[in-house]
Amino acid sequence: MKQLVILSGKGGTGKTTVAAALAHLASQEMPVVLADADVDAANLELVLDPAKQEEHDFMGGQVAMIAPQKCTACGICADVCRFGAVVAPSPRPPTPLPSPNFGRGEGGQGGGVRARAYSIDSLACEGCASCFYQCPEEAIRMEEQQAGLWFRSDTRFGPLFHAHLFAGQENSGKLVTLVKQQARLRGLDTGAALVVVDGPPGIGCPVISASAGMDLALHVVEPTVSGVHDLERIMGTTDHFSVPSLVLINKADLNPARSEEIVAFCAGRGVEVVGRVPYDDVVTEAMVQGRPVTDYTDGPVTDALKGMWSRVSDLIFPDGIDVVKGGQR
């Protein structure tokens, strides 16, 4: 079984469009498993029409909680916190009765809470527990927090593993790893030939998590100054973790000169450009219809993506796809 991740340093270059097309094209030839590793903005489900089969909680990490009745407002927790997550008590004494202004503009202290207690901004808290260990009153406890959900769904093209990281949560790298692991295990269990992973943008922790253990990274790049700049950085990242790269130029006709620049840059690094997809409104139309573009229409975009898949398939399965014969859908 092989694993392929779709990446792009810059966001919005067409990763999910390409991942959906690969899901469609590859599934016609072999059993595939799909994973959406862009867990803070998961879009693959919007074009694969998934039917959810399983839903699980994702426990992301812990945050500190201060018991107001035990807090003596000594302020040690605020001194040791390096993330600005400890909120000092408001200097104003608590209002005895709810004022007409109740619940508004009181710096988050509300009306009834004892104003002398410190509190925690749970979005800023990184769960280091430094305050927990330093509090002389043992007023702080660490609480596991649910940071998201993950799902297994059925699609026409194979099982899809995807997730939803709750707004503003940390530990997206951990959730990415979990989604990928589930997809891989499923693939091994069912004799799949290929796992297609739709990656997140950027070069940070979720990208590193998405790239780990992959056989190939397909970088989707647009012929723009920022696209070229970001390609260099994302390729540096995948090189750093020893994942071989391929490049697909999306909207290649938007700026032919810059497309050539990408080709030259890739040639200089020994990286193959496996296709050039022209700009076409059908890509957006297919998205509005909730379908992979290759499944939605024929034409230059679909032809380019089919050409890309045929090349990727030759490269990732140099000896043909023998796994498939024994496998099952």
Binding site: G168, T224, S226
Partner: protein, 324 residues
């Protein structure tokens, strides 16, 4: 006034909007009657997308200061260490491990919280800086159609046109963007910016780097495109900015005319103001592809960005009055 430009989905035009907004409200662009006032209040622009910083490609700043940033990681003094394992016990990130008479530190797992050092009973741990990126600041001069070099006034003074610029860049292979963004903000944003425009260009997504870029802002401007992907990710961005952080939000619809009506319907239902629409225009995309900005390619947009800035100012003022 601190405005964070964010989006959820990548590639919707955050940088295009943020850069054009900054260039449209430089002192020489404003129809001010008091143009000769002592402080022309040039906008301050921060590129907070430290994983893939791109604004400099469009603003072409001259960098005047640069410093390395990182976080404090533990270093063990083996003269004092008794290998008791307390540091590994208190570390929530498994960034320090005691194996026999060895202490291993894993910098890429460390969050720099300092708890190991605080808890070490023999005071054997001190902290050293682990560099994970750089922060820089400088000056981007008035926009010019020819793309010639910006003018170069001394830092913080002079020139009516121009944008003060700062950016962070994460080193390739490093996982953690948040400490760089945090230090960039501390370094570049003055303690009380007041009426001075401060524009932060955030990274895509809705996870911790985006939260750090929004924290402390007066307003979050969400740039989206009218497609199902754009809408899906806009909802998530609103959850972070408005629902979790309690900040006022407004929307810019880019590539207006593609896709469907979903974003319009959502904004109407949620009472989120749509502050500007930029139609799908190949000229904008082509200018962008060569590093040109929207207001350079189509100067008629400058007025619209000034109106956008004024509208944001009114929304922020309303919020302040309402909350007082």
């Amino acid at each position: 006034m601190i405005i964070t430009v964010a989006s959820g989905k990548g590639g919707t035009g955050k940088t295009t909007v943020a850069v054009s907004l900054a260039l449209s409200i430089t002192a020489d662009q404003q129809d001010l009657t008091d143009q000769e006032s002592a402080d022309p209040a040039h906008p301050l622009f921060l590129d907070c997308d430290v994983e893939e910083p791109n604004a400099a490609l469009f603003l072409r700043p001259i960098i005047q200061e640069r410093r390395e940033v990182g976080q404090m990681i533990p270093e063990v003094d083996f003269e004092k260490c008794t290998y008791c394992g307390r540091c590994a016990e208190v570390c929530q990130y498994h960034a320090i491990a005691v194996v026999g008479e060895k202490v291993l530190v894993f910098p890429e797992l460390c969050h720099g919280c300092g708890s190991c050092s605080l808890n070490c009973p023999t005071g054997a741990i001190h902290e050293v800086l682990d560099v994970i990126g750089t922060i820089e600041r400088g000056w981007a001069g008035p926009p010019s159609v020819s793309g010639s070099l910006p003018s170069y006034p001394p830092h913080g003074g002079g020139g009516k046109g121009g944008v003060e610029f700062a950016q962070g860049t994460m080193n390739v292979g490093e996982p953690m963007a948040v400490p760089i963004i945090r230090q960039l903000k501390q370094w570049a944003i003055p303690p009380n910016p007041g009426d001075r425009p401060v524009i932060l260009d955030a990274s895509p997504g809705t996870a911790c780097p985006v939260v750090e870029s929004m924290r402390g802002a007066d307003f979050v401007l969400l740039v989206t495109e009218p497609t199902p992907f754009g809408l899906h990710d806009l909802r998530l961005a609103v959850e972070v900015a408005r629902d979790e952080l309690g900040l006022p939000v407004g929307v810019v619809i880019n590539r207006d005319g593609v896709g469907d009506q979903g974003v319009d319907e959502y904004c109407a239902a949620e009472s989120i103001p749509i502050l500007m629409r930029i139609p799908l225009d190949r000229r904008i995309a082509e200018a962008y592809s060569d590093g040109g900005t929207l207001v350079e390619a189509l100067p008629e947009y400058r007025k619209q960005f000034q109106n956008l800035y004024a509208a944001i100012g009114r929304l922020v003022a309303e919020r302040k009055e309402g909350g007082a």
